[in-house]
Symmetry: C2
């Protein structure tokens, strides 16, 4: 087994949430500690903490930290306070359903607890948050194992954005599959899309791949079609921020393009995501409303550091939607779901 | 008629070639003057001068300047010198066939001239270079008129890279069509892809569109599929660096992806390029060899000014190839060529 180098991207120490500031990577490995929910919300909005499963975990820690740091006089007052905290954290980013799911789970736990002393309640919530993190870590490992069975020696795998240790707990989702296959001894090569505007591929995925010594080439997003045509890409694997029961997948902007290009070249296109990413409630017709539109400034500049265009209108959707029909399989911790997704994804949720 | 604001991107003054340094745009409008062929070659390699027709024009001026500044003792010596100059300029960039075509034309002119005095020969070559520029300007205007007939009121036109005044003489190729339609009073909107790695869309096309007050939105390259699906894109129009007789089109990296995505959404996909871009000699099987691979540093950095990834392998093809089957029409100064291109493009060349 080749060894993988994992990052603990978010955790708690005492009453503080600790995270690696991903906006500073790969040049600075800076950890931030804060007990402030406002600071956490800023960190999620600014993508210091990002990745669908990871922002779910961070939100859970946020609620645990709010409970631990609360001045509420009794558990009723605490519950009211947590409800307001939950609302604030939930409003940071609209697309990744994991955020909402983790918050709901934490609030359900808080409401289930009888009138325990505040301190005990905080302790239980912290335990629940760590349980979520632990489950996501196990889900990553399981996704890695299931996904790895799809990978052959010699595969050239194209991926987008960052879906590794920095996007969840453990090995990651799509990148977790790639890393698990590599760790198991398969000789593979990765082509990583840089992922404008915020360059999670160039900054984060390249950094993680390098730490694990996995061979890779970085490309601009627009070179993906060239790579699929001329560089022997044999699989595309990406993550997800929200998956509907019909397989419609919201993921980082550019994913839908990759799915179309993969289809044109008859290259299998896989999504890897934990069951916590599946949203059985939203209807396909309403999915577009869940797509976060971010500031035009992210397009007019590179990483807030280099201006590349004069004042101009810019369209900056953070995600796009890939229809289930274009997805060869959805790799979850329960196995690889296949079409028809309506059935296979419902089964994955029930089994979760 | 709405007025358009044209740029004179390359010209001569005395024995010097004068160009606007496009690497400095849109923040500085800096003109450079030099009589040195070495300096001109550097300018073409660095993309201070870029755009398939424009580098052809610049090359013609380069040969004219070399003749004007030569110390050769007689016209035979001058011819030998010019042959070496031609070779140097021709080696700067391999994909745009216009470069080669213009150089061949200048050298043919040089060889045709009887043993004229050096000064007269230089004068004639300068006239020939200006004739080339003048023809490209007229070709732009004609492409604009033909292409404009395809544009309807209310069209949303997606384009890539820069194909305006900065890419040729006159209004431009693809952007020339857009501008001509707008100038004629059609209400259109443009979606401009930023065009990583060198951001010609964000820096140059946005700048040209703004000067002309044409409504536009800038997007990252990976948002093109989102835009075609959700923002009413009704046409895609791009330029070309080399078009084979079967319609295979080498153009800025990302073009092939746009063609595939347009096909998926049943959006017409047009190429606009002067007949000087058509290459009747290269076979489709050999086209990939003509694709320039540029430095990985362009991917690992943004505009040599901001590092975005640690040391890593990066693949940086400057162009990709779109098959003729995906192209709805090729707009030239001779009209809109339609399938089968073998016939229509051959006819365009004969008529040129």
């Amino acid at each position: 087994m080749r060894r993988l180098s994992l990052i603990d991207a978010v955790s708690m120490s005492g009453n503080e949430i600790i995270w690696i500031d991903q906006t500073k990577l790969p040049f600075k490995e800076k950890y931030v500690g804060s007990s402030s929910v406002s600071r956490l919300c800023t960190a999620i909005k600014r993508l210091e903490i990002r990745g669908a499963p990871l922002i779910g975990i961070a939100a859970a820690f946020g609620i645990a930290a709010a409970a631990a740091n609360s001045d509420a006089k009794d558990s009723d007052a605490l519950l009211r306070e947590l409800k307001s905290t939950a609302k604030r954290i939930n409003s940071t980013r609209p697309t990744a359903v994991n955020l909402q799911n983790c918050i709901n789970r934490m609030m359900k736990k808080a409401e289930e607890l009888p009138s325990l002393p505040k301190k005990t309640m905080a302790k239980r919530l912290r335990e629940e948050a760590y349980r979520i993190k632990d489950e996501e870590e196990k889900a990553s490992a399981s996704m890695g194992r299931y996904g790895s069975t799809l990978i052959k020696n010699g595969d050239v795998i194209l991926t987008h954005c960052n879906t590794g240790s920095l996007a969840t707990a453990g090995v990651g989702t799509a990148l977790g599959v790639i890393r698990t296959a590599y760790a198991s001894g398969k000789n593979i090569k990765v082509i990583a899309c840089e992922t404008r505007p915020l360059l999670q591929g160039a900054r984060l995925t390249a950094w993680e791949l390098k730490r694990d010594s996995i061979p890779f080439e970085l490309i601009t997003d627009s070179a993906a079609a060239y790579a699929m045509k001329n560089r022997g890409v044999s699989k595309v694997i990406v993550g997800a921020d929200r998956i509907l029961l019909d397989g419609s997948t919201a993921n980082k902007i550019g994913t839908y393009a990759l799915a179309i290009i993969a289809k044109e070249h008859n290259i299998p296109f896989y999504v890897a995501a934990p069951v916590s990413t599946i949203d059985p409630r939203t209807k396909t017709a309403n999915m577009l409303k869940k797509i976060e539109q971010r500031s035009p400034e992210e397009v007019l500049n590179v990483l807030s550091r280099l201006r590349i265009a004069k004042d101009a209108n810019a369209l900056n959707p953070a995600f796009d939607i890939t229809p289930g029909s274009m997805i060869s399989g959805i790799i979850t911790e329960k196995g690889v779901a296949r079409k028809p997704y309506q059935k296979s994804l419902a089964k994955a949720i029930r089994g979760a």
